[in-house]
């Protein structure tokens, strides 16, 4: 079903890379002119990005050459772990919530990934690193961003009107009933950027994967089919991941008496919450 790439993209020479880096001079001038004082941060961030991607290039080369099913799956699990670490870091929840968010990611990205790998992309072999790793990476990266917004908004909105929430719980509402409006708020907040991105897809920007495939020598029609399939996979996986993360995290996020468990939040103990 796939057309093998007739050739790779034209290589970038070392001088070309140096010239690419030299383009940062524009940013440096802008920062100096506006006195935003971010020049140091710019170099640190860009340097780190260069090193990270350089390393990725090295071990992806090795990974693709080895192409061992267990190693490939192990690498995907590692990416999942890193994504969950990042989710919790950015939602203000304690890292101990990992035991609830990791299974949520594993199930959502695992199930959607498996469905698309076996039925849509059908690489030979199925665990081919060239497919498995970048596709899982895209599903994970997008799920991560969506989950950060959704999970953060869910708990922060319950916290914002904790007295109203508690009043409902005290009169016999279940946690699901009392958080139904929070779930709606959180889900909408997470879905907004995803829908906005879909609306301009292909008009404002060509998706990165498609650009890469076209540069790599693929027929644009093949590249577009891949892009459509991956967008669908991302959409379903992120939806599922956001919902499961909230559902699973509720087990720890609320006490057996139904109230918000402040111990899940970073940097604030339960003692500090509420008035006496």
């Amino acid at each position: 079903m796939t057309q093998r790439m007739p050739m790779g993209a034209h290589d970038i020479s070392n001088i070309g890379l140096i010239l690419a880096a030299a383009s940062l001079a524009v940013s440096v001038v802008v920062y100096a002119f506006t006195k935003v004082g971010l020049i140091r941060d710019l170099f640190i961030s860009m340097g780190r990005m260069g090193i990270q991607l350089g390393l990725v290039g090295l071990y992806l080369t090795g990974l693709f050459r080895l192409n061992h099913p267990l190693v490939n799956i192990g690498y995907v699990l590692l990416m999942m772990g890193a994504a969950n670490y990042s989710v919790l870091k950015n939602t203000g929840l304690k890292q101990s919530m990992f035991v609830y968010t990791f299974p949520a990611t594993l199930i959502s990205v695992g199930a959607v990934g498996l469905y698309f790998m076996t039925l849509v992309f059908q690489p030979q072999p199925l665990y081919d690193a060239r497919y498995l790793i970048p596709i899982s990476g895209m599903l994970l990266g997008n799920s991560m961003n969506r989950t950060i917004i959704t999970l953060e908004r869910f708990y922060s909105s319950v916290r914002k009107d904790e007295s109203g929430y508690s009043a409902l719980i005290a009169m016999g509402a279940t946690v699901n009933e009392a958080t139904s409006s929070n779930l709606k708020t959180a889900y909408r907040a997470g879905l907004g950027p995803a829908l906005a991105n879909l609306a301009t897809m292909g008009i404002v920007s060509l998706p990165g994967m498609m650009t890469g495939q076209i540069l790599g020598g693929s027929d644009p029609s093949v590249a577009i089919k891949y892009q459509v399939a991956i967008i669908l996979a991302i959409y379903v996986a992120t939806d599922l991941s956001a919902l499961l993360c909230i559902t699973f995290s509720k087990r720890k996020g609320f006490t057996p008496y139904g109230f918000l468990n402040h111990d899940i939040f970073k940097g604030k103990s339960s003692a500090a919450s509420g008035s006496t």
Binding site: K160, D161, S163, G164, S166, A167, L168, I169, A170, M171, G172, A173, T174, E177, S181, T255, P256, Y257, G258, F259, S269, S270, A271, A272, G274, S275, T276
Partner: protein
């Protein structure tokens, strides 16, 4: 109706309520008062399960206050928080009706018939209902909060400063409404003179884990 048996409540490492016992009979109106930080709200929040005693026992309506009994116990409880915040564009009417959508109130109809009468008693104007909660004054929000409880008609009312920050005339309206429910057991954290003078039981809380006093209507321990 409510029985607290030597409960100790801690927030973090700090003891807020220390070996506190209290027996509340059906229909009792109980005032919990004391200086700020003395654990009044903590006591009330312990009665809804928001804080849990590290020691002692709570019995409500003859049932141990443990998660397994909550569905039964909470059917008869109304908790009025100190602050009633607005959620988006939610109107006062949405706020009043929300509890009737809960599974626990399945079969209970929203009592349209009593609404007008209760609103008149609470001195709330009809147009208040169509206003977003956020646009009401603090005093109106307090009365709408209490109205919610009156419509639910629960046997136990737990109120956190029900009349605080309300002007004098409306304070009396709120207090009278709470006392009018002769069958309802009311526990209120309050400094309201009138509430205190009419209360069946007065509970004074002390800070720093000192023993707490309970007196009946005649000032006897």
């Amino acid at each position: 109706m409510i029985q607290l048996d030597s409960i100790t409540v801690q927030l973090g490492t700090q003891t807020i309520v220390n070996r506190f016992s209290l027996e509340i009979a059906k229909g009792d109106k109980v005032a919990v008062y004391g200086e700020s930080g003395s654990g009044k709200s903590t006591l009330l929040k312990t009665l809804i399960g928001m804080h849990l005693p590290v020691n002692g026992r709570i019995v409500m309506q003859g049932l141990d206050f443990v998660p397994a009994n909550l569905p039964t116990i909470r059917k008869e409880v109304f908790y009025l928080p100190q602050d009633i915040l607005a959620q988006g564009e939610e109107t006062a009417m949405d706020y009043l009706k929300a509890p009737f959508a809960l599974a626990v109130n399945r079969g209970a109809m929203f009592p349209e018939m009593r609404l007008g009468e209760l609103m008149a008693t609470l001195r709330l104007k009809a147009e208040t209902l169509t206003q977003p909660l956020g646009r009401l004054s603090g005093g109106e929000r307090k009365r709408v909060g209490l109205l919610r409880g009156m419509l639910l008609n629960r046997a136990i009312i737990l109120a956190d400063e029900p009349s605080a920050g309300v002007d004098a005339s409306n304070r009396d309206v709120i207090v009278n409404m709470l006392f009018r429910q002769s069958d309802a057991t009311v526990v209120a954290v309050t400094h309201d003179e009138e509430f205190l003078s009419m209360a069946d039981k007065k509970v004074q809380m002390h800070s720093h884990g000192m023993p707490d006093d309970t007196t009946d209507a005649h000032g006897r321990p």
